[in-house]
């Protein structure tokens, strides 16, 4: 893209973004900037297009118009390194029922780090994170055997096991107990302190997590 030199924004920057889903325009010519070290809260009613916007920013849903930049380069450009830096946790948990918790987490970590990871220390890291989440010792349980809340915790454990610079989280606080909400808020703040970009949605206001930027999606 010839315009890419003009972009002055670090972090994630969406320029004149138009997103539609099933012939319905959800977003028209919107500019959105998620700077490093900021937490952005995306709000909107059910069906307003929060998830579609997130999927578009994650590069899964092609935009009708507009470009999304990551550190001044279009995300589709191989040099942007966007997909190395991004963890996108969708509403579906993306875990296989047929694998154990540890196998699921290890697979994603290996895929992201292209196998350049010490397997023994990865196993230790997995045990450590699961303990923090209150599901320690369940590493070798099948994913299908867990309760909905526990499954959700396993999906969140990925955030701690894979290095990233931007988190896009669809409803990360749903289904969580008080303690885990606090844990996730702490970890999100720590990630922000290290220069991370965070975009998340939620139905309720999260008291534990101070937000730097609010972005709303509204129905026409």
């Amino acid at each position: 893209m010839s315009q890419s030199q003009d972009i002055q924004f670090d972090g994630l920057y969406a320029h004149e973004l138009t997103v539609s889903r099933s012939e319905q325009v959800l977003l028209e010519d919107a500019d959105l900037h998620l700077a490093p070290s900021t937490i952005t809260y995306l709000y909107g009613e059910n069906g307003a297009g929060k998830t579609s916007l997130m999927r578009c920013l994650a590069g899964l849903l092609p935009a009708d118009h507009g470009v999304v930049y990551w550190n001044k380069k279009p995300i589709s450009h191989p040099d942007s390194g966007y997909f190395q830096d991004l963890i996108f946790l969708a509403h579906s948990l993306s875990m296989k029922n047929e694998l154990t918790i540890a196998e699921n987490l290890r697979f994603y970590a290996n895929l992201r780090l292209k196998g350049r990871v010490h397997q023994k220390s990865l196993s230790n890291d997995i045990s450590g994170v699961l303990r923090e989440l209150g599901i320690g010792g369940l590493e070798n349980r099948m994913f299908a055997e867990l309760s909905a809340g526990q499954q959700h915790k396993v999906a969140l454990a990925r955030l701690m096991l894979e290095p990233a610079k931007i988190w896009i989280l669809d409803e990360p606080f749903v289904n969580l107990d008080q303690k885990t909400r606090g844990w996730l808020a702490d970890k999100t703040l720590a990630f922000k302190e290290q220069g991370g970009v965070v975009l998340f949605t939620s139905h309720h206001h999260i008291d534990e997590l101070p937000v730097d930027q609010n972005v709303g999606v509204e129905h026409e």
Partner: protein
């Protein structure tokens, strides 16, 4: 990267082996019923054998396609795979795993069916069996590759089984024709090199284009 994906596929499949056994069982049952239904005499069965075995193999592959991509699409892991690796390598690893788990077992089981269908009857019997296996080795990967394209195109449609069948059966027909006629030629003691070469050509073309096409279609289906 492909190795990581492949290892995961095989691990999931191992825990879910019943789903994989069904197409194989289907393959065996269909072929083994023919001697009962038609006639156990060698000349009759030999005439039917190439067609019956190849049709059964094709239908077994079609039956197994249902598992291609479907569960990954439903539980959201396909999305994650596409984010974290290239669509083509996702397709390659899926196709490879799928062939190892369905195509290869079909090839391994085929000598058994050759016995049932009296292909190994007579002095040149074992060479006919080898030709059958060779035709399946060259043909079934092509069926997998084409099936992958069909499945990835129709993922977003619910109940896509029928749609896929309509979409890819016309593409399967040439492979069926040359696969079965390879074995027929061998049984009639004629040269079968030409048929095998064409099966090989189909395979090479499919290897070049199908993973790429399937990967692109996956991107579209997920978007």
């Amino acid at each position: 990267m492909i190795l990581t994906l492949l290892k995961r596929e095989l691990k999931v499949a191992r825990r879910n082996w019943i789903g994989l056994a069904i197409p194989l069982l289907f393959f065996i049952i269909v072929v083994s019923l023919f001697p009962f239904a038609v006639s156990p005499e060698a000349p009759v069965l030999q005439k039917l054998a190439p067609g019956v075995i190849w049709v059964a193999a094709l239908l077994a592959m079609l039956l197994s396609l249902e598992q291609f991509y479907r569960s990954d699409y439903q539980d959201g892991s396909l999305e994650q795979l596409l984010l974290m690796s290239s669509p083509t390598s996702v397709a390659i690893s899926k196709i490879l795993a799928h062939w190892l788990l369905t195509g290869l077992p079909l090839v391994i089981l085929s000598p058994l069916l050759a016995v049932l269908m009296q292909i190994n009857y007579g002095s040149a019997g074992s060479s006919h069996t080898w030709v059958l296996m060779l035709s399946l080795v060259l043909g079934t990967p092509t069926l997998c590759l084409l099936g992958a394209v069909g499945m990835s195109l129709t993922l977003a449609a619910s109940r896509n089984g029928l749609l896929v069948s309509i979409l890819i059966i016309p593409l399967y027909v040439p492979i069926l024709i040359f696969g079965a006629s390879t074995v027929t030629a061998s049984l009639e003691n004629m040269r079968y090199n030409g048929e095998l070469a064409i099966l090989g050509a189909f395979l090479l073309i499919a290897i070049v284009f199908a993973p790429f096409a399937s990967g692109r279609a996956l991107k579209i289906s997920v978007g």
